[in-house]
Subunit: 347 residues, 2 copies
Amino acid sequence: MDPYGSIYWDAGRVRLLDQRRLPAEEIYLEITDYQEVIQAIRTLAIRGAPAIGVAAAMGAALGALAMDTDDPVQFQVRFQEICREISQARPTAVNLFWALDRMLLVAQSQEGQGVAALKERLVAEAQTLLKEDETINRHLAQAGQVLIHDGQRVITHCNTGALATGAYGTALGVLRAAWEAGKKISVWVDETRPLLQGARLTTWELGKLGIPYILIPDGAAAALMGQGKVDLAIVGADRIAANGDVANKIGTYGLAVLAHHHGIPFYVAAPLSTFDFAIPDGGHIPVEERAGEEVTHLWGQAVAPAGAPALNLAFDVTPHDLISGIITERGVARPPYSSSIKSLRRA
Amino acid sequence: MDPYGSIYWDAGRVRLLDQRRLPAEEIYLEITDYQEVIQAIRTLAIRGAPAIGVAAAMGAALGALAMDTDDPVQFQVRFQEICREISQARPTAVNLFWALDRMLLVAQSQEGQGVAALKERLVAEAQTLLKEDETINRHLAQAGQVLIHDGQRVITHCNTGALATGAYGTALGVLRAAWEAGKKISVWVDETRPLLQGARLTTWELGKLGIPYILIPDGAAAALMGQGKVDLAIVGADRIAANGDVANKIGTYGLAVLAHHHGIPFYVAAPLSTFDFAIPDGGHIPVEERAGEEVTHLWGQAVAPAGAPALNLAFDVTPHDLISGIITERGVARPPYSSSIKSLRRA
């Protein structure tokens, strides 16, 4: 188990580590209202595609628990409304929709049951989803760690550790598994502007794991690659299209281009729940645009002149032809992705 | 004239706009001691290669003025010491050494003169250097603005405006001249971590000039290029080798690779004083490494866990083969640079 969990279920409440306050303070929010879960997702108290999925499921469970009806039909209708509401928290990470679909399916499969049984079943399902996420990530990490060699200097972007998931992590989980397998790796951590998930969260996790790292501004990645100081790049994903195009934190696409230019392998690590098989390519992935204040201000203090216009795209899309492999819990998909992703799905 | 000057000479004092406090406050430092000039350069109260050159010359003039000797020989020896001391303020921008060499040459050329005359001559030379810088930049801007077309969306990195120079600017001067020529351009401003010269200074200057801009995190440049929203990239330089390799603010090399990948022209704008004809290529340019705290802290507040190791390379080197042209006061050098730079030098 991790010494910290990004989110867990605790006697009818959701407890989640408020990632906005890391690394300065480790404070858990205690949530009983599903609308507070929506707020937590929207304001990035919890973030990372797999963790968002877990939070959405637990939010739905909270919504179910709080429902004041004994009529199973009314319950189902209202539960669908709640899930629809939660699904609007953020648009890009597909795990949000995937988790809610799963909760809806569970509710529907319980037709004929009373409300109390339905509630119990949904609460159990949200907890199962969390447990499964850890298992999935551990499998993914094992599948990926064979790609990491002793002594390699690996660059990563944003945060993909236990904080971004139910536990263990995706891309950072791969590095963790490599480290636990005795490989003496070191990590270049992109700080990841604007919200500094690399500087605030990835460093914090690597520090706890004892894995050596050096924090860099995002703009320094190219110089290090040019100097031959980067052996491999690995990132997570918020949504992967059927052709292998990957939406991930803004800056990922640039890192992929730089890796390509320097002949450095560029891997993506994500569970199958991050794949959106319904969309043919990355052009169809909705990219969230967040408030410009996240760029112009830091902790309430302005870094730009008052009223300075800023564009704050939360994600970018990396075309599949820049990706060396996509690491999943069922193995590593390699180009051509259209067929390899299909095979993994069927596996 | 600009509504603000980065630096000027005022009755035996150097007055310089403290760029560390922009955009929040416009405060001029009043300096009479050359060692304070060194501190101002080192702590980035004044920055930008041409502005550093002017500051160094004015610092040398302050050092000369304050000298307490009537012996011209003693004066020359001590003046050399002062210039050597100032030359250690920062290592990368070659304008620093160029300006000091020029001041030393002036001192040496005045052999036989008394100390009072020497002082007067050196103070005049520092002011001349500032005036020349404005003329040079205006010529450079005119040479460059023909490369900018009406309606273009231009990306730039760091700050290269009047603040970074004696007046008018280099890369930003080119955009300013294009704007003054009636071309309706707009500018994507890289915020330029870690010290946010783009967010703090370039936005401030573009705002005063009335040129439309949008601030972005450095990591967003690739996404905008991929979406076809960037027509041209233009940056300044801190030192240019004889083969056209360019040292400039960290992040420049990455931007050049991205521009290359997307088929976007990438221009560098710099006066001939930024060329170092003595070094064959960029591998010989000393790159300053600054304190990690500039990455881990912002205005004294930590953005990373206590003790997080960070690498803070102030500059990177862009190989000449990624550069479409180098804009100087004598015209635009084109590949192959070894010969075109030589021709400009002789022009």
